[in-house]
């Protein structure tokens, strides 16, 4: 029996939306307040959804301890309380939450072995969220 499991994590980071390939005016027009040279921050909520058969012995899709340890080590330690623009992931891409969502998906996809990764959902604010499933269509 296959089931989906979602777990939420919190982290805080700052970013500035700016593309060197654009003029100053174009950056301001595209990113508005988010182009402020000093950056600004968010409390991000990360929601990771994995799936798999429910293990008959444990009754689990995967052990939450394994998921927590992986996310803590590979994602939260990487991004929490960081300035995203200063990280190598964003040396040539703009740290929009779209791009951050894809980065986090790729980290989990490459390294998490205990269950199948379904999707990553990232809330930038209470009113905005982004979802990425490796380019696949989301289930309705």
């Amino acid at each position: 029996m296959k089931a989906h499991l979602s777990r939420r994590y919190l982290f805080s980071a700052s970013h500035r939306l700016h593309n060197d390939a654009m003029s100053a005016e174009e950056n301001r027009a595209t990113y508005s307040k988010c182009n402020n040279p000093h950056g600004h921050g968010h409390n991000y909520t990360l929601e990771v959804t994995v799936s798999g058969p429910v293990d008959e012995r444990t009754g689990m899709v995967c052990n939450l301890v394994d998921l927590d340890q992986f996310v803590e080590r590979e994602v939260l330690e990487r991004f929490d309380h960081q300035n995203l623009n200063s990280l190598s992931e964003f040396s040539s891409t703009v740290p929009t939450t779209e791009n951050l969502c894809e980065q986090i998906y790729d980290i989990l996809q490459r390294g998490f072995r205990y269950a199948h990764l379904e999707k990553v959902r990232l809330e930038e604010t209470m009113m905005n969220s982004f979802e990425y499933a490796g380019g696949r269509e989301l289930l309705k």
Binding site: N19, A21, T96, E98, E102, M126, S129, E131, Y132, A133
Partner: protein
């Protein structure tokens, strides 16, 4: 393909009544919601669009534009209104949460240029919501 969801809140009043039903049928089917003086909700709207991330901007859609479209096409029409009396879609249709979700889809879908509308979700209360994917 990345999905972006934007929320917005609006407050409105409505009542449920079908003129083709007898008063007894209306009362029986719609219960308290049949009170002709109406009653209100704080609705929470979630609009989800999908598209590829623009390599230059890093955006699926310009959020300011999406907010403007949602304000202009939906909130300006529905917020602080009596839906049955003030919103054209509901002069003949019952403003159930189902019909509100469909009306919002029909208002937004033709206005979105860069990203494609994926889902409209309307919460009538925190415990009740409707999803519409534009399906016939």
């Amino acid at each position: 393909m990345v999905y972006l969801t934007r929320k917005a809140e609006f407050s409105a009043s409505h009542y449920y009544h079908n003129p083709e039903f007898t008063p007894e049928e209306n009362q029986h089917i719609f219960g308290k919601c049949n009170n002709p003086n109406g009653h209100g909700h704080n609705y929470m709207l979630e609009v989800t669009v999908k598209g590829e991330v623009d390599p230059r901007s890093g955006f699926v859609v310009d959020l300011r534009q999406l907010k403007e479209i949602m304000n202009r096409e939906v909130l300006d029409t529905l917020d602080h209104r009596f839906l049955n009396k003030e919103v054209p879609e509901f002069s003949r249709q019952i403003p159930t949460t189902e019909n509100i979700a469909i009306a919002i889809w029909q208002r937004l879908e033709p206005k979105l240029k860069t990203a494609k509308l994926h889902r409209v979700r309307v919460y009538e209360t925190p415990d009740l919501f409707v999803d519409f994917y534009g399906e016939a």
